[in-house]
Symmetry: C2
Subunit: 213 residues, 2 copies
Amino acid sequence: MAAPESAPAASARTTPDATRRSEKSRRAIYDAALGLVAEVGYAKTTVEGIAARAGVGKQTIYRWWSSKADVLLEAFLDLSEQAAREAGQAPYVIPDTGDVAADLRAVLRATVDQLRDPRFEAPSRALAAEGVVNEQLGRVFVAKLLEPSLRLYVDRLRAAQRAGQVRADVDPRIALELFVSPLAQRWLQYTGPISHEYTDTLVDYALNGLAPR
Amino acid sequence: MAAPESAPAASARTTPDATRRSEKSRRAIYDAALGLVAEVGYAKTTVEGIAARAGVGKQTIYRWWSSKADVLLEAFLDLSEQAAREAGQAPYVIPDTGDVAADLRAVLRATVDQLRDPRFEAPSRALAAEGVVNEQLGRVFVAKLLEPSLRLYVDRLRAAQRAGQVRADVDPRIALELFVSPLAQRWLQYTGPISHEYTDTLVDYALNGLAPR
């Protein structure tokens, strides 16, 4: 983020070295937060524990974040962006090649890969488990981490409606659940294996319907 | 269960009063197990705690069950059967009126009612949360509590395939996820409100597909 015009002094004080040190601390804090929540769960993760593991003072964390939930939230956003970059994808984009089936298959295959990424799996499960029994936290994390992705599906389905590839009368926010939720439930509850073939099948069933045409 | 022919003495010793006392203890243990897991979560629920709350000795629990997971499993099966009886439904049955859309709408509406039942909600959430981070327990509870219900959908969809109402080439075990999983995810992750209108919509989208016909 560019420094605002009104704060030239603060901007001048931030030397390249200080920025590099900050960036290093920030990354150590993210790694510590994700590692700790994966190992001990959300309830037992504390700001003190994150600070100790990251090798920084507690006050360094409180300078940037107001709570452990805030730290974890940003750590997850950062992790998702990293994973997308490494996979050669722009984060927060669903392609629009004009073929809605192909585009949905591609994005769901990428999601399968992310769900199987060990860096992502354990901390995500810890957070999801807490969200099931802690409604307030569940709602915050869904709003910040899940809904932004779901809105991309809404946009892509709206484009498909304009192109005549999806029925004009369907509500895209519900429609997307026909392929997103089965994958989520298999991952969360171990109700079945997840694979590219599986998500391709979901896209076929959802678009074409279970009833004969 | 009828006493086996080879054990007439044991059978004779079980007076109506003893049976009634046993049944009362069993129900107190189920209630204690469900209440405790809802309040403190799965990890902190112990056989000792269940016994104390039920007003029975620990050895009474170990006479009938081998672990807290076993007690909880049976307590949930009992709760689901009770809820079905009270709703005037036979447990473990999906109706077959010949109209697959109507039958799916009916069973999903009943599921919505059960998910909103306060007796069911807190203990179910506690168990589901543990299952997300404890793969072994998650798999056992899915196999014992969830899969038997899912098999009913498989059977109903197979009948619909024979009647020509569902495509012959779909895999019923995947197809059922188009309406079951969205409801499960909304309930587990607070990703949206659940209602009869919502599940009716899922059945429409799943059977007819998102693409225009």
